[in-house]
């Protein structure tokens, strides 16, 4: 199965400090499910930022969708970003827009005609169980509801990769279970899913998921399965 992401000796340094990420070399297979774990400050969010092209590495090579993402011209970034869905720990919903408009944003950004927006958005609202919150603005929603709106927004454009940063960090265990079920459903439809979490209970809920562990900016991969994923472990 083809690799959708490939890191080679990637390092990331903010300003003049120490490297936040050091010598990362791994591949992500298309259609697989990955958990990214590690203690707070291990570099999980920085790694995700590299994945969703919010940050360029200080050194090394990143190939995304088969192309060099490090030297990718700025003008081509939007096209790549439309193929990546992102769920943030703090949701990053637009507070003055309704749940409907927040979820519709990726479609509108992609230039989907307005008459073709409503049906998929309502479908997504139903999928995340928020059909009755169509016109609600994020400040009036609970944390779990906001997280589901953020997930719906991230997946409505049928991204090839879904990146989620601590998606269960602000929700109760029942809601965490439901959110992971949503990710698993999406993964079964073919989307590569990368979920950053430090909750070990979360990891058990997706038995077929691969594990990536960061420790002080370095990837712990004793078996080498991330660098060379065996075909039988990949969906």
């Amino acid at each position: 199965m083809a690799n959708i992401v490939q890191f080679e000796n990637v390092g990331l340094r903010y300003d003049t400090g120490q490297e936040t990420l050091c010598d990362l070399s791994f591949s992500l297979s298309r259609g697989a499910f990955y958990f990214l774990t590690g203690a707070s400050g291990a570099g999980k969010t920085s790694l995700l930022r590299l994945l969703y092209l919010s940050q360029r590495p200080t050194r090394g090579s990143i190939r995304l969708f088969g192309e060099d993402a490090v030297t990718l011209p700025r003008a081509r970034l939007p096209g790549f970003r439309r193929r990546i869905g992102v769920v943030f720990q703090d949701f990053r919903l637009v507070p003055h827009l309704s749940a409907f408009d927040n979820i519709a944003l990726p479609l509108r950004v992609s230039g989907v005609p307005e008459r073709e927006v409503a049906d998929p958005v309502r479908e997504m609202l139903a999928w995340v169980g928020l059909s009755d919150k169509t016109d609600a603005r994020p400040p009036t929603l609970s944390g779990g509801e906001q997280q589901r709106v953020a997930i719906a927004r991230a997946v409505i454009g049928r991204p090839e990769i879904l990146v989620a940063d601590e998606p269960t960090g602000n929700v109760d265990p029942d809601m965490a279970e439901r959110l992971l079920h949503l990710f698993d459903s999406l993964n079964r439809l073919g989307t590569t899913v990368v979920v950053a979490t430090h909750d070990f209970h979360t990891l058990k809920r997706i038995p077929h998921a691969h594990m990536m562990r960061l420790d002080k900016g370095r990837l712990v991969d004793p078996t080498g399965s991330l660098r060379f994923p065996p075909p039988d472990t990949v969906q």
């Binding site: 939007p78 970003r81 992102v86 990053r92 637009v94 827009l97 509108r108 950004v109 230039g111």
Partner: protein
């Protein structure tokens, strides 16, 4: 996000307007009010200068200044007859001495009517063309017929007035350009402030794959619309002032100030100013936003 000039309802909702950001429209109303006033002044004074040009070009005053009345009368008659024979002269009329005395009364009192006072005999002359050669020929003919005659171009008397009008027109044009520059500067500042205010929304849009042009279009459409709406309000107020001033000038009954009238072309130019400023503001906003966004990944 739509690509057209008019934003869709969804696009308009993207930038939150609840925090008084539409103050921009009122700023633009004031800018356009001042701009339209300056432009109206410039166009009106330009019109007066053009009227003076048309009226004064080719107009002469002939004065026969011989001290002795009999000589003066004879020379004036000879000069008038000579002028009327010239094909270059469209019209030559003697100024009525009684009318002349009436005009001099404020300075000379009743002495102006004293036959012993040597008041020059005067003639108004209109030439068919205002070339230097024609003027020289007319002067030669007049002096041959009346040696004491002096020929003056009316242009030389009112030339300074025309210069003042042209200077006022230039100043008004400069003011309009300054206002356009100030408008562009205000728009750039507003666009930058808008980028700061909406930075979170823009970050989300970028993350979702929005291009810089799509983001810039949100700002440029809103600022362009604010400028157009504010500009129309400012223009309406300025036109009200211009019409009021016009009525006041008409009441003065002066030929010169009556010339301070705006023609159809002038009104069309004034009417185009809000549109021109809206286009300028749109371009300035687009360039400012694109330049700012280029600095982020």
């Amino acid at each position: 996000m739509t690509m057209g000039i008019i934003a869709s309802a969804a696009d308009r909702r993207l930038l939150d307007d609840r925090h008084g950001t539409r103050a921009m429209a009122w700023v633009m109303a004031i800018m356009l009010f001042l701009t339209v006033l300056a432009a109206a002044l410039g166009l009106a004074t330009l019109g007066v200068a053009a009227v003076l040009d048309r009226q004064l070009a080719g107009r002469l005053t002939v004065q026969v200044v011989a001290p002795a009345e009999s000589v003066r009368t004879r020379e004036a008659a000879a000069a008038l007859a000579a002028l009327k024979r010239l094909p270059e002269v469209r019209r030559a009329v003697a100024v009525d001495p009684a009318h002349l005395a009436e005009m001099l009364r404020p300075w000379l009192g009743t002495d102006g009517a004293d036959p012993d006072l040597p008041i020059p005999a005067m003639m108004d002359v209109d030439l068919t063309q205002a070339s230097a050669a024609t003027l020289a020929r007319v002067q030669a003919v007049v002096r041959a017929a009346a040696p004491s005659a002096r020929v003056d171009r009316q242009e030389s008397w009112l030339g300074p007035v025309r210069s003042v009008m042209r200077m006022l027109s230039g100043m008004a044009g400069g003011l309009v350009l300054l206002m356009a520059g100030a408008t562009a500067a205000v728009v750039i500042l507003a666009a930058r402030a808008g980028l700061d205010t909406h930075s979170d929304t823009i970050a989300v849009l970028h993350m979702l794959g929005s291009t810089d042009v799509q983001v810039a279009r949100l700002f440029q459409r809103r600022i362009g619309l604010d400028t157009l709406l504010g500009g129309l309000v400012g223009m309406a107020a300025a036109i009200g002032v211009v019409l009021l001033v016009g009525v006041q000038l008409d009441a003065l009954g002066s030929d010169l100030v009556t010339g301070l009238q705006l023609g159809v072309r002038d009104w069309v130019i004034l009417g185009c100013l809000p549109i021109a400023f809206a286009i300028l503001a749109t371009l300035a906003a687009r360039l400012a936003v694109l330049a700012a966004l280029r600095r982020v990944l």
